[in-house]
Symmetry: C2
Subunit: 333 residues, 2 copies
């Protein structure tokens, strides 16, 4: 393991891939690897990219990576989007865009299966981000879709979150409004050569102008997290709305520049430390919950649990009373 970690630190692509697989398969390996690599993290710019299916998000990722590569930056890509060409999409033959990047030694692509628990997915993604960060990538792009809990968790792991939309998405505007605007640091209207682009830009700017839509940046499940009270409103940062035509590379240098400006803003304003503390809290909390639950499960016999759950299922015992009974059993031991 120690040799593998050393190779990862040197940025060796095959070592990185091997370590990620190990970490995904073994919580003990994850603990060992993250403990060793953690002091070397905090250097990469972690960028979340999300948006509606059909907005051309993957094309934006692809074009942005090419722009960053021209600037000699090394880029890691984590694709957790089932419709991404890097993951599920590739199954349906859309491997072309991936091929543009995959021969490049300065690019590392990892797709995360959305199988199994999505909580587990967020956890695994957090580990892969740290591995790529410690391996010396300048940017780690995390591509997700939608506005579900997984996306919010992953956006929370990013320092800059880009939300990609396209003209003519119609009803989609509603879902943006409801959830996605709250996590955006940079908005992109892709396919800006299509009719309706101006209207889409205006609509987004109007929403931004109206301020946070009654909500706050979402922070996992416990409200006790040390959180910013005023949503994703960042004093000193006006969320920009950029127009791009990713298939032609248009607007990409502006987008890359905006990433740099946002990072500079985060560092200068103290927002960086605030976000890192929030991220740290969510991560520690998640590890605590896992620890508690595994200790608890080890202390209650399976048969006891099964009998009680059958009683709950049959409405003989309510869930709150079941919890009290389980806790009194472990405490009396």
């Amino acid at each position: 393991m120690i040799e593998l970690l050393e190779q990862v630190r040197q940025g060796q692509i095959r070592a990185i891939a091997r370590l990620i697989t190990r970490v995904e398969n073994s919580p003990a390996a994850a603990e060992q690897a993250i403990q060793a690599l953690y002091p070397h993290t905090g250097q990469a710019h972690i960028v979340g990219i999300t948006g509606s299916p059909g907005a051309g998000k993957s094309t934006v990722v692809n074009a942005l990576v090419q722009t960053l590569r021209q600037q000699e930056a090394r880029v890691g890509i984590i694709a957790v989007d089932p419709s991404s060409p890097f993951t599920g999409g590739a199954l349906l033959g859309d491997r072309v865009r991936m091929r543009d990047l995959s021969g490049d030694p300065g690019v590392f692509i990892r797709s995360m299966a959305s199988r199994g628990s999505l909580g587990g997915l967020a956890r695994a993604t957090a580990s892969v981000i740290k591995i790529l960060d410690a391996a010396g990538f300048d940017y780690v792009l995390v591509e997700t879709v939608g506005a579900g809990q997984a996306e919010v968790d992953i956006a929370n792991a990013a320092q800059t979150t880009i939300v990609v939309e396209a003209p003519g998405m119609g009803d989609e505007i509603q879902s943006i409004k409801a959830g996605i605007l709250e996590i955006a640091d940079v908005l992109v209207v892709n396919k800006a050569d299509r009719p309706g682009a101006d209207r889409a830009v205006r609509a987004l700017k109007m929403m931004l102008h109206l301020g946070p839509v009654g909500g706050t940046r979402q922070h996992g499940r416990l409200s006790s997290a040390p959180s910013s009270e005023n949503g994703n409103m960042q004093p000193g940062w006006d969320i920009p709305v950029l127009e791009t035509v990713a298939t032609e590379g248009k607007g990409m240098s502006e987008l890359a520049e905006m990433l740099g400006r946002h990072m500079a803003y985060l560092r200068e304003s103290g927002e960086w430390l605030k976000r890192e503390k929030e991220r740290s809290w969510r991560e520690v909390e998640m590890l605590l919950q896992l620890r508690f639950m595994s200790q608890f499960q080890a202390s209650v016999p399976t048969e006891t649990r099964d009998l009680l759950l059958t009683a709950v299922a049959q409405r003989e015992v309510d869930p709150y009373t079941a919890v009290n009974q389980l806790l009194s059993k472990t405490e009396s031991e």
Copy 2:
């Protein structure tokens, strides 16, 4: 509270609305209400309805409710979809469909804000389902969108999950494949009068025929849940693909009938008890986690936590070591 609970049991609409608001705002009220009402639950048929935005899901819900009302069934609707006319959609003027239902005393509509933690949303939805169940509704329809963790959590709370698609969704098929098929008990191709409907039906049937797409029905975050091993494959239940034109009410009586058939199947096969036990486990687990975390937070001074998180944010301490330090502090007290 006791009088309010009695009025809820009698199905009084205003009492139900008042209790839901109280339960949403106070965990203590939730505990008291659920403990009292729980023995009276288990009667309603809990139906989850999800699908891609644009598939006409809300129109299907509306038409299905009208069909169920013609059969004299009382129907509760919980809308947790930001693009639903019952929630966010209504803001953009799409109140028409809601108006069709809202004058009817046999229908109760509650929209759940997707603000704040989505984990909290799943918890609140579980409570509202129980309240409507105990209030004597024959059906509780839970409308969600997408395939995120929230939708999976909510689908897990349902006895029957309907997934609505429409022809010509193109890439959407991929996201169905990745996540939604795993939670479907009944598939609906809505807008079946449009070109491509036959192809969509064939594609879905083919996917069903191929069996579970390498995955299993998703079960929250701990793999230790007593779970079915073979995905959403239910021996003795062939997942049907129904064609509907919800705007004209076409296919709705077939859909209503299918709900009855699925419930009969669940009861006869023993699947009902199995699912209820799984649901019970997830609920008990969630309550346990909340209990653990609040006990833990009470035992660690805020300053201690804040210092440690700052150290984690600044890469002086890794998250695993932070957890060990926090736990050793609480255990030594």
